[in-house]
């Protein structure tokens, strides 16, 4: 598959590296030679110096033979322009990164499609949505919803006090209302088999239904925290602004931003229930005077990953039970995990999940990325008779690294056992490591 990526920023570079490692034909265009740098000699991809809104540059990138064109420069209008041009020159699918929530509204979709922009991604919005779902259940690391919330995937860090520790899976799995799809132990991702056990400090991914969430909380030995009332955000970034829109009005939100000019700008962007404070959120005195001890959630959402991690550590020490930090640098994620600073949000991974979805030829309802594991959870609708409906799950021969999490039948979420037969009309939720995703296509053909 030939993929052209316009814009060698954080998202573009991440995508290019990831896709080239997966043996896709990747071409990366950017105006700045420094940004492209040594990528070409380190990864098996082609870099082209040029303006992606110029027809000549797009032509030299071979856009006419391209299966997927991804425009992820920092400028929304240029992304749309280059998608329109790429479509005109013959690119099969185009994705543009945008900055404007209005564009995402379903009523405009047809218009954008007619322009030649097949899909839009708004990484900041995706990040904000993830933060908003995460703070609902503060004892979880990550929660993803599938099929309008019929099935949920819950990531929990289990401690010494959990009741499911050190029990082999084959004994654990009898008559349980959940399914464990994967565990992360240190840097290792484990897809559990019969004799594996859960150990303390593992991050465990449960697939279950909404009504079983309290049960999951019980077996993992977590306490329910009080309802979230006060939130402090560090850094008035775009993610912060989008997050404030998704949090209920009853919650008090304070944004601490260092740059006065940005503060003024923020006032125009956020609603009235949000208070904007000018200052350095790493300053303990400022935090104390803004009531850090009454804060339920501290969110570090500035553009600087190191600062975010440190600020969350500081907030934890001040007694905040729940922290969320935006970590741009993917290599830092496992490190941040080791520091126990709660949820970690990464907008590159969120953007990547959209691209994954575009790459698949099979129809897929959604693909969601896990922050702390190099894995995705995808929801596949079974529209017609295909390989996967012909035999029970245990005989399917799914690739290693993939695991069926559950399925939604007639709008009801249910667990899957080895003997389950998938039927037409089901939606299947599959957990899989990133590079396995494409191998799943054949099961749905």
């Amino acid at each position: 598959m030939r993929i052209v990526i316009a814009g060698a920023g954080a998202v573009g570079t991440h995508l290019a590296k990831m896709l080239s490692v997966e043996n896709e034909n990747v071409v990366l265009i950017d105006e700045s030679e420094e940004k492209l740098g040594k990528l070409e000699s380190l990864f098996d991809l082609q870099t082209i110096v040029g303006d992606p809104t110029k027809i000549s540059a797009l032509k030299s990138a071979g856009v006419n033979e391209t299966d997927l064109f991804v425009a992820v420069t920092p400028h929304e209008s240029r992304n749309i322009t280059s998608c329109v041009l790429a479509h005109y020159l013959g690119a099969r699918k185009t994705v543009a990164r945008i900055d404007n929530y209005e564009y995402l509204l379903p009523k405009h979709r047809e218009y954008f499609n007619s322009l030649g922009v097949d899909s839009l991604i708004y990484p900041e919005q995706l990040a904000a949505e993830e933060i908003a779902t995460n703070i609902r259940y503060s004892w979880m690391r990550q929660m993803l919803e599938f099929g309008d919330g019929e099935l949920v995937m819950v990531g929990v860090k289990v401690r010494q006090n959990a009741s499911i520790l050190n029990i082999p899976f084959k004994e654990l799995v009898r008559d349980i209302p959940y399914h464990i799809v994967a565990m992360q132990r240190g840097d290792e991702t484990i897809i559990p088999r019969g004799n594996d056990v859960i150990k303390a400090n593992d991050l465990v991914c449960f697939m279950t239904t909404h009504d079983q969430i309290p049960y999951i909380r019980k077996i993992t030995g977590k306490e329910e925290f009080n309802e979230v009332r006060n939130i402090i955000m560090m850094g008035g970034s775009r993610i912060a602004v989008r997050t404030t829109k998704l949090i209920p009005d009853s919650v008090n939100v304070k944004i601490i931003e260092n740059d006065l000019a940005r503060c003024h700008k923020l006032l125009e962007l956020v609603d009235d229930n949000v208070m904007v404070i000018n200052g350095d959120a790493r300053d303990p005195e400022l935090l104390a005077s803004e009531g850090i001890e009454h804060t339920d959630v501290f969110m570090a959402l500035s553009d600087n990953s190191e600062m975010n991690i440190l600020a969350c550590l500081a907030a934890k020490r001040e007694g905040v039970l729940r922290t969320v930090s935006e970590v741009e640098n993917i290599d830092y994620i496992s490190m941040a995990e080791g520091l126990d600073i709660g949820s970690v949000i990464n907008k590159k991974k969120l953007a990547a999940s959209t691209i994954f979805q575009m790459m698949l030829k099979t129809d897929v309802s959604s693909v969601k990325c896990l922050t702390f594991i190099q894995a995705v959870v995808a929801e596949f609708p079974v529209n017609s008779e295909c390989y996967i409906t012909r035999r029970p799950v245990k005989d399917l021969g799914l690739p290693s690294g993939a695991n069926i999490g559950g399925l939604i039948r007639n709008g009801k979420g249910m667990n899957v056992t080895g003997n389950t037969m998938v039927q037409v009309g089901d939606h299947i939720i599959i957990f899989c490591l990133e590079h396995v995703l494409k191998k799943l296509e054949r099961f749905f053909r």
Partner: protein, 484 residues
């Protein structure tokens, strides 16, 4: 980060591939009913055995190959290929002395074309074919060739490719190097086949045509005759050889675009190609005039000899139709200058390459401008594009190291008692992968009489010259081996 197991695994696989290359000589031996077939098969067995053992022992190695591993693999494989490549010569008794055999093999793989043989016609044809095979594989690059045919190294491909690739700026034709390599290999094979037919119809026998076309397209210089192309005494063959040497000196990517994408404009706009062409034309014109005035040849003979020698030396092939060391000194000195220049980057030729020469020249001119306008921002442009300062300084460093290796060679050669002209010529011709040198070691002379030490040092120079210095010399720097 080093991954010794992964390195040995790759080396093992590459040795198996060398065995395959050598295997192609066996049918030749059968066809001509030569008794060397036994020693050829024995060599194949030894090489394949060594490869199989290495890759079997290290079969569990991870697939990770770092950048540093890439440099180690590339340097080692050129040395190991040359070491094992001596087997057919030594076992068959064609070149009984190991030093000579190593020199000959390294000269083959590095497409230098300098030979220690004194009676080429007496050798079995299968052995001659193996000599040509070393040229043909070395022309494109051992690793490059392998990536094109069997993309086996997975993610390591890119590091190996980067370590072996030459030229100051290399552009990819396709996002994946294995595909790029395959495309270039297609062009390479295509050129060789076409060249074979041309040579045959110009009057060579089939065996000679195949051998010479492999040597010509790789810009190597080995011939199946002791007197090189002069042995055929045919102007048509000389012109055909000139044409294909010239084509071999053009950037293969440009040829690809020209032939498969009909992008004639790219070729005419390419400033390196223009430099290459103009150097050929100017030098040919001057040497023709020189020959007409001093040697007593008529105009057409002078032109043919001049054109042939200029193209042969500039593309660092090293075929000969005339013994240029007997020309007047100015004329062979001009050829000596060409030994520095080389043809286009991205071609099979060696030496400095026209791209670097023209950038160097522009950098030099800019220094003058800068004295007059101290505050001016003066770019160096190639084909309308600005050459980044990083590339400029890399080229300057390259030039310094080129001259340094050349001078060391001069000292070594004179240390072994050669005279100045011979020493200088050998050093220039080895570093530039040209082949024939100056003085007593001109195109019609054999290098058999050289002291063994000189042969080893020349082999070293050929290797570093072929891999453009940094890849090899890097392994001799302490920084490379430090864990920091």
């Amino acid at each position: 980060m080093f991954h010794p197991k992964a390195i040995f695994r790759i080396l093992g696989i590459l040795l198996l591939i060398e065995a395959l290359f050598l295997l192609t000589s066996v049918p030749v031996a059968w066809y001509y009913n030569e008794p060397v077939v036994k020693s050829l098969l024995m060599s194949v067995a030894v090489i394949a055995g060594a490869g199989a053992v290495l890759s079997y022992i290290c079969r569990n190695a991870g697939r990770d190959v770092s950048r540093k591993d890439g440099y180690i693999v590339v340097t080692l494989i050129w040395v190991i290929f040359s070491l094992f490549g001596t087997l057919p010569y030594v076992l068959s008794g064609s070149i009984p002395d190991f030093t000579d055999a190593f020199f000959e093999t390294m000269s083959g793989f590095s497409t230098t074309g300098a030979t220690i043989l004194q009676d080429i016609e007496a050798l079995p044809r299968s052995i001659l074919f193996w000599r040509m095979m070393t040229h043909w594989v070395g022309g494109l690059g051992i690793v490059f060739f392998t990536i094109a045919v069997f993309p086996i190294f997975g993610l390591g491909d890119i590091h190996l490719f980067a370590a072996e690739s030459v030229g100051p700026m290399r552009a990819k034709l396709h996002p994946r190097i294995s595909v790029t390599a395959r495309w270039l290999l297609t062009i390479y094979i295509g050129l060789t086949v076409i060249c074979t037919f041309f040579m045959h119809f110009a009057g060579m026998g089939w065996f000679d045509s195949v051998c010479h076309s492999m040597s010509t397209i790789a810009t190597g210089g080995f011939s199946t005759r002791q007197e090189s192309i002069a042995a055929f005494g045919s102007p048509v063959i000389e012109y055909v050889t000139t044409l294909f040497m010239f084509l071999g000196g053009i950037n293969l990517s440009l040829l690809y675009l020209l032939i498969f994408k009909f992008q004639v404009k790219d070729l005419s706009r390419d400033s390196e190609f223009k430099t290459y062409l103009s150097i050929v034309l100017v030098f040919t014109a001057v040497i023709t005039v020189g020959l007409v005035l001093t040697s007593g040849m008529d105009v057409s003979d002078s032109f043919r000899a001049a054109l042939f020698q200029v193209v042969s030396v500039q593309t660092t092939t090293g075929f000969a139709t005339a013994n240029y060391v007997q020309w007047m000194p100015l004329l062979w000195l001009m050829l000596c200058a060409l030994m520095f220049f080389g043809a286009c980057s991205g071609s099979t030729s060696g030496a400095m390459k026209c791209m670097r020469i023209s950038i160097l020249f522009k950098v030099m001119l800019n220094e003058f401008k800068r004295i007059v306008h101290p505050n001016a921002v003066i770019p160096v442009r190639m084909a309308g594009k600005i050459v980044p300062t990083g590339v400029q300084s890399a080229i300057l460093a390259y030039t310094v190291i080129y001259i340094f290796v050349l001078l060391v060679g001069l000292f070594v050669n004179m240390g072994f008692g050669l005279d100045f002209l011979d020493s200088f010529g050998l050093s220039v011709a080895s570093v530039g992968n040209v082949g024939p040198a100056l003085g007593h070691y001109g195109p019609m002379d054999s290098l058999a009489t050289l002291p063994a030490g000189v042969k080893w040092f020349c082999s070293f120079q050929m290797l570093v010259g072929r891999l453009e210095f940094f890849a090899v010399l890097l392994l001799f720097t302490p920084v490379f081996w430090k864990r920091r």
